[in-house]
Amino acid sequence: MESVQIISMVCYVISAPLLGLLLAGADRIISARMQRRKGPPILQPYYDVRKLADKERPSAGGVQEFYVLCSLIFMVITGAVFFAGGDLMLAVFMLMLSTVLLLVAAFSSNSPYSQIGAERELYLTMAYEPMVLFTAIGFYVFSGSFRIIDIATGGSMPIVHLFGIFIGFVFILTIKLRKSPFDIGMSHHAHQELVKGISTEFSGKTLAMTEIIHWYENILLLGFIILFFCDGSILGYVIGLAVCISVYVFEILIDNSFARMKWQSALKSAWPVALVFGLGNIIVLFALEA
């Protein structure tokens, strides 16, 4: 492993929560402005989490904190693998592990709201997983390697060949970022039929950790977006960053302009999108190679 990779990895582990919390703060301000409100200060998510961490922690079932902690650890490892330029598939599978552990925490409480939330989230996982796999496969077919370092320093921008996959990925990003219309498993807002879904029974430190997991995850997901623009030059990263910001603002816009859809629509839309944009793109790549 080269020093650049190690630095990038350490940077992620240290700065991802900071960036993630700023992103969450900005998210709340932009959302508020879209709704003609002023919104909280940008550091509000930080204040929230600090307050939670100070609270006493009664736990339903007694094992939740452990599962959530594991989920956090594996989320950090996932990001570390990704930003160290490791294997893309490894990152995808570790991300899945972290997600499932969070669901296990929710299931373990045996509470109706968190159970239903967890089942719905599992269902959403089934909806977005094919597109995630197609994304990894697309990068592999494009660059001939699953290693992120090879993809990022390949010399040409993946987006040119992977435009369909990019669109598909942005589509499922709405689900992964827990944005409306697909926030059926756990919403940022408690005013829904499932109360807070997965996190209904999380409190105190455990709830604070789920927020931090969310920060790490968001930065990782935006890392995927940047990867579409990496061609080994600084310009690639700059474009990638710009696109990242616009994609995120776009997701906030969708969040604010869509009502929550029925659960059926998640699978009914995500699978066709994966087939058309994901698989379609891969077929084109095979054809171009031949």
């Binding site: 736990s59 339903a60 499932v100 299931f107 089942e119 094919p130």
Partner: protein
């Protein structure tokens, strides 16, 4: 067998005892089986079973340690006596099946049994008579791995069966105690499995193949209920059909190439002789045995048998004979009709069987569908026939055998203690049977989560499908994996739920059951930690030998070591976290005021309302009928088309 003669073709003098070890592995279980018939008392039987499986386990490990790493070692064990006795046994089997069929008015089974016997006889006294099979037995890397799976997983399941069958008899006192026959069949079955993986002579292999069919038939019908009898005949009919495919393959190979040995058949295929029709028929036989669509229904029906039978025959060993056959043929598969057959049917089965698993609430049926699906994935990998794909196929075979055995045994024990095999009734199992639930969680996680072996192998499978540019397989594996996460995830959710105030009911689980379950659980974890070493030192040279290339590494070993480290972290974390920790537990939120036990709340009009959970089955999307029928139609059409094509090419018509 006084005039038995053997010659060593390759290797050194050590190989003498290798051949004795092989013969011992095939013959000793038969001997043990016969002893079982005379063991009437519980204590004696328990001791005899334990001693016999200990011997089998030890000898299989010894054989593999000494001869597993030497590549292909062939043994000449030529003797007319053996050939004729096998032939005689085969005729007796066919006659027995014929009578059974007639007695139960299942004439199709009778007819198929007769057809197969006629085919075998006509070969032996026709074409086959002129063919000299030089080497009847062999051992190589792949068969060593199979020997370990049969010898270790098979033995552990039989140990488990001692305790399980005691409870089974206890729960069904009205049934006649047929445990001597039960253990007889289990041991005969082990012998036949060793025979399949160690025979180089195709007619010998077919004989053992048929013995497993018959054992499976008799064991599925063990309880003698109408359902059991129906299921057993369905399994018999389908597997006889596969056996007929096998017999035709032998006749064609004998007729066209003058070959009756597996190694020479593979060599002929590699050197460009036209072997596609026999290879396709052998793949067909393997797919029937591995319960691929459209023949998957026999494995579902087989779930009526007592759980050790399901575990031994229908998940970890017998169905593995089917995938063993296809993996064995993999060097000559690929982009040809036989390879396409394996790829398309395997891929379709993986996707649609996974979907059908979503709609099931019966734990054994979920396991059955998952077995069918994973066998499909293994067969698809073998069909791709590249080094990388075969690496994945073998890894999947190993991990599936161990993990699925664990799960079956857990479900079996849970069934005896909670009185149901329905996942819906496993509410709060974590509180009622904490140790068992823990083992079950390991098994479930082992089937679909990183860093467990199944997932790592599936990862390689995906890479190999992409490298082969097979669009159909990419679609099947991506969507199939997504569905897999869903159905295991929801079961996992049931398992981890902590419910207050449940009584611990696992004190009465038998010693033998704990031993087998515990060993499997440790094996699942240990194999994941040892994954990188296994890949480097066992699989790489094995694949190299199979494909005549240099050692082969499928995944960059850095990734394997990361997975191994993650596994260790997963063991370490709970140890550190829960050390001396007390957590204050609180009330869960139920929309109304809870009454304090976390299971009831005060609803409207001051009534107490119980909460209960039901899983999500999505029958309208993933219903068993819909998925099963779609899969059966696709797989059947693919099979018919490709076999017809091979037949036309073979006949010189196209």
């Amino acid at each position: 067998m006084g005039t038995l003669k053997y010659h060593i073709r390759r290797g050194n003098t050590g190989c003498c005892d290798a051949m004795f070890l092989i013969l011992f592995l095939i013959l000793f279980p038969v001997f043990a089986a016969i002893i079982m018939l005379f063991m009437k008392s519980e204590r004696q039987r328990s001791a005899a079973v334990t001693a016999s499986v200990a011997v089998i386990m030890a000898v299989s490990v010894l054989l593999v340690i000494r001869y597993g790493g030497r590549g292909l070692v062939l043994f000449e064990l030529g003797s007319d006596i053996i050939s004729y006795s096998i032939l005689l046994a085969e005729i007796l089997l066919a006659a027995g099946l014929f009578c059974m069929g007639v007695r139960h008015k299942r004439y199709l089974a009778s007819v198929l049994a007769v057809i197969q016997a006629v085919l075998v006889l006509s070969f032996e006294f026709g074409i086959g008579h002129g063919i000299h099979a030089a080497n009847n037995l062999y051992i190589d890397g792949l068969s060593s791995i199979m020997v370990l799976i049969i010898g270790i997983a098979g033995s552990l399941i039989i140990i488990y069966a001692i305790g399980y069958m005691r409870d089974f008899q206890h729960h069904n006192p009205e049934k006649e105690d047929r445990r001597p026959q039960f253990f007889f069949l289990m041991f005969v079955f082990l012998s036949a499995m060793f025979g399949i993986v160690l025979s180089n002579n195709l007619t010998w292999m077919l004989f053992f193949w048929e013995v497993t069919t018959v054992c499976s038939f008799l064991l599925i019908g063990y309880t003698k209920t109408d359902e059991a009898v129906n299921s057993s005949f369905r399994a018999l009919t389908m597997n006889l059909l596969g056996g007929i495919g096998f017999a035709f393959a032998i006749i064609i190979a004998g007729n066209d190439l003058g070959i009756a040995e597996m190694n020479r058949f593979l060599d002929a295929g590699l050197s460009g002789a036209s072997v596609m029709l026999p290879a396709g028929l052998l793949v067909f036989a393997g797919m029937v045995k591995a319960a691929q669509m459209p023949f998957h229904s026999w494995l579902l029906g087989a779930m009526v048998a007592p759980t050790p039978i399901s575990a031994l025959l229908h998940s970890s060993t017998m169905v593995k004979a089917g995938v063993f056959m296809v993996i064995k043929l993999s060097p000559i598969l690929g982009l040809n009709s036989a390879g396409m057959l394996a790829m398309l049917v395997g891929g379709t089965t993986f996707l649609l069987a996974s979907m059908a698993a979503v709609s099931q609430s019966n734990a054994k049926r979920v396991l059955a569908y998952s077995t069918i699906a994973n066998l499909g994935l293994i067969i698809a990998c073998a069909g791709v026939g590249t080094e990388e794909a075969v690496w994945a196929a073998i890894m999947l075979t190993i991990f599936h055998a161990v993990t699925k055995s664990l799960l079956f045994l857990c479900v079996g024990t849970a069934e005896h203690h909670i009185g149901s095999r329905d996942i819906e009734d496993m509410d709060g199992l974590f509180s009622r049977m904490p140790k068992l639930a823990g083992m079950m969680i390991i098994g479930i996680a082992g089937m679909f989560l990183a860093p467990f072996g199944m997932l790592v192998a599936k990862w390689t499978a995906i890479a190999s499908f992409v490298n082969a540019e097979s669009i159909v397989l990419i679609v099947c594996v991506c969507f199939g994996s997504a569905v897999t996460v869903f159905y295991w995830g929801k079961w996992l959710g049931k398992m981890v739920a902590v419910m207050a105030g449940r009584e611990n009911t696992e004190m009465t689980v038998h010693r033998q059951e704990w031993f087998a379950i515990g060993t499997f659980a440790h094996l699942v974890v240990a194999l994941c930690i040892l994954f990188p070493i296994m890949s480097e030192h066992i699989l790489a040279p094995l694949i190299g030998n199979m494909f005549g290339s240099v050692s082969y590494m499928a995944l960059p070993s850095a990734n394997l070591y990361i997975m191994s480290a993650v596994m260790m972290l997963m063991i370490l974390l709970p140890l550190v976290f829960f050390r001396g920790k007390k957590v204050r537990t609180g009330q869960i939120y139920m929309g109304g005021v809870g009454t304090g036990d976390n299971l009831t709340f005060i609803g409207s009009a001051d009534t107490e309302v119980n909460i209960s959970f039901r899983n999500w089955y999505m029958k309208e999307w993933f219903g068993e009928k819909r998925a099963g029928n779609t899969g059966a139609v696709i797989a059947a059409s693919v099979t018919v088309c490709l076999l017809t094509c091979s037949l036309l090419v073979w006949g010189g018509i196209v």
